[in-house]
């Protein structure tokens, strides 16, 4: 479990996070959503002490991380950033093997004892056929999957992911989504796509202007009453026959009122928003 308690982050006179308190429980996927600049990435970074806190505290399994070493944190929390720019001269296996650094230390990291775990992590993200290739030859989507494989190889009980499906094609997006719930006991994921958040997250935190606008179970939270002011749009939430949430967004104003969803079959959709 990761908790943030009254976390405030200031950078260059700007307040990026203002008194943010959240809990990411064990055994759940916690989603962080919100418009651009709402502080999602900063919050994720604050959870691993990658940004200095002006106030508040972050705890991992009840331990205040301020008092802990980088290695202590890395043994419990793996993070996958939005823009991974790994050394292009490394091969996929070399980069994924760095996941073992926190657990095994520099002397034994990347040794023969960890080969099976590294190969398994690469297989989990579907990159076995490229395992021995240099990172310079990989596409953006493949690099994203390499970063995920490294987090899997890190064997941490908490995994933080920033937009993990950003550069992925449909097939790999579905695979990563299916993997999210199994990657670690505690998963925190920043997502732009609300439908995806509704699909994969048990628990959602909505940020707006560096503050928590709402937090709770996704089905209770992702409603027009909350989303409209946060995103400054008109939202319609639709639940299809399979119980999946669909969102239809429009710009506020007279033109948007008449807009209707065009692709979905009306029989399978019940409109929640009157």
């Amino acid at each position: 479990m990761i908790t943030a308690d009254g976390v405030t982050v200031r950078l260059g006179g700007r307040v990026l996070l203002d008194d943010v308190s959240i809990t990411a429980p064990t055994g759940a996927v916690t989603g962080i959503v919100g418009p651009n600049g709402s502080g999602k990435t900063t919050l994720l970074r604050a959870l691993v002490r990658a940004v200095p806190l002006a106030a508040g505290r972050v705890s991992v399994d009840g331990h205040d991380i301020r008092a802990r070493s980088r290695r202590w944190i890395a043994r419990r929390v793996a993070e996958v950033g939005q823009r991974a720019e790994p050394d292009p001269a490394l091969r996929v296996v070399d980069e994924v093997a760095l996941g073992g650094l926190a657990e095994h230390g520099p002397l034994r990291a990347g040794g023969a004892g960890q080969d099976d775990r590294v190969a398994g992590a690469i297989d989990a993200v579907g990159l076995t056929h490229r395992a021995l290739d240099r990172l310079a030859t990989l596409s953006g989507g493949e690099l994203q999957r390499v970063a995920l494989a490294r987090a899997i190889a890190q064997n941490a009980s908490h995994v933080l992911l920033d937009e993990p499906t950003n550069h992925l094609d449909i097939r790999h997006r579905l695979e990563i989504v299916a993997l999210l719930g199994r990657i670690a006991p505690t998963v925190v994921v920043v997502l732009h796509d609300l439908e995806l958040a509704a699909q994969v997250c048990d628990h959602v935190i909505v940020l707006h202007g560096g503050r928590v606008a709402g937090a709770g179970a996704q089905c209770d939270l992702l409603r027009p009453e909350l989303l409209d002011p946060v995103y400054d749009v008109v939202t319609r939430r639709l639940v299809d026959g399979a119980g999946r949430s669909r969102f239809d967004f429009a710009l506020p104003g007279p033109a948007s009122v008449a807009r209707t969803p065009s692709i979905r079959t009306p029989q399978t959709i019940t409109q929640e928003n009157p």
Partner: protein, 354 residues
Amino acid sequence: MTVRSTPAEVVASVRRSRRRSTTVVAALLAATGLAALAALAIGPVPIDPATVAGVLGDHLLGTGQGDWPASAEQIVWATRAPRVAMALVAGAVLAVAGVMLQALVRNSLADPYLLGLNSGASTGVALVVLVAGGGSALLFSGAALAGAIGAVLLVLLFAGVAHRRGPFRLVLAGLAVGYALNAATSFLVFSSDSPEAARSVLFWLLGSLATVQPLALAAASVAAVIGIAALVIIAPLTDALASGDDSARSAGIDPERTRIGLMVGVSAMVGVTVAAVGGVGFIGLVVPHLARRLVGGRHRAVIPVVALLGAILLLAADTVARTAFAPQEIPVGVITGVIGAPFLLLLLRQDSRA
């Protein structure tokens, strides 16, 4: 290329590539030995390689005196061996420093002198020779070392280590300090009354292994062995840093502290070497590119290869420098530049095609 479709095949391939790295290192060790043997044999007075091996065996392993003339022993052991040893040590140190700095500032055009080290050492030497009126070779080395360390401290100060702004500021500060110190050296040379002293400074600036001080050789050897061994041991830290600060932090490393620590360590190693041989360029820039082609980018595999290739390259360059226009010496920096520049262009051209 074989298609690896199962994790077991990946594991087998990884193990094969580790064995390949070991084979490359073994082959390079043998090549280094042969190159040293050849360098000891080549010179104004050619010595039979068997005699060279005999003299080395006698001095290093105590295999006993052979029936070679005393003059041959004198030439091989007293005249050429210190110079060959210095070339091997300096080549290894400069090349390893190159690969380290390229990783630490994440720029494949970085070289060991990036942090103003060479410029600082030059200014130190110029001050001693031109202002204080010269002195022993040991004083030269001391002034160079003090200048190099002073320059690195200036760079770290200007880069604002405390502000933690990442590697780019270090590069900028290194460039600025380097230019300022080069200007100071040029001014000192220009304003000197003694053409002879100015000439000796210029010769030093280009790098030379002509006068090897036993103390400087010992210091550089110790720094090289300890430094390179430590860098191989902690190589995964360098891998993580080369992938960026976020990558390093995620792996449980403090990126700023680790980078500064490694930079100071590498600078000390280079400082001791530069103090002994002057500003030998291009080794640290060219060799890492070549080594990565042989064994990939993993630093545990690449550092030993870089060290051995650097040693061989500088030894070859120095052998050319002392024999090509004998009895006239060419500064070895001229040779490394002549070999290094086109070689680097060739590599860059091949890289852009790949």
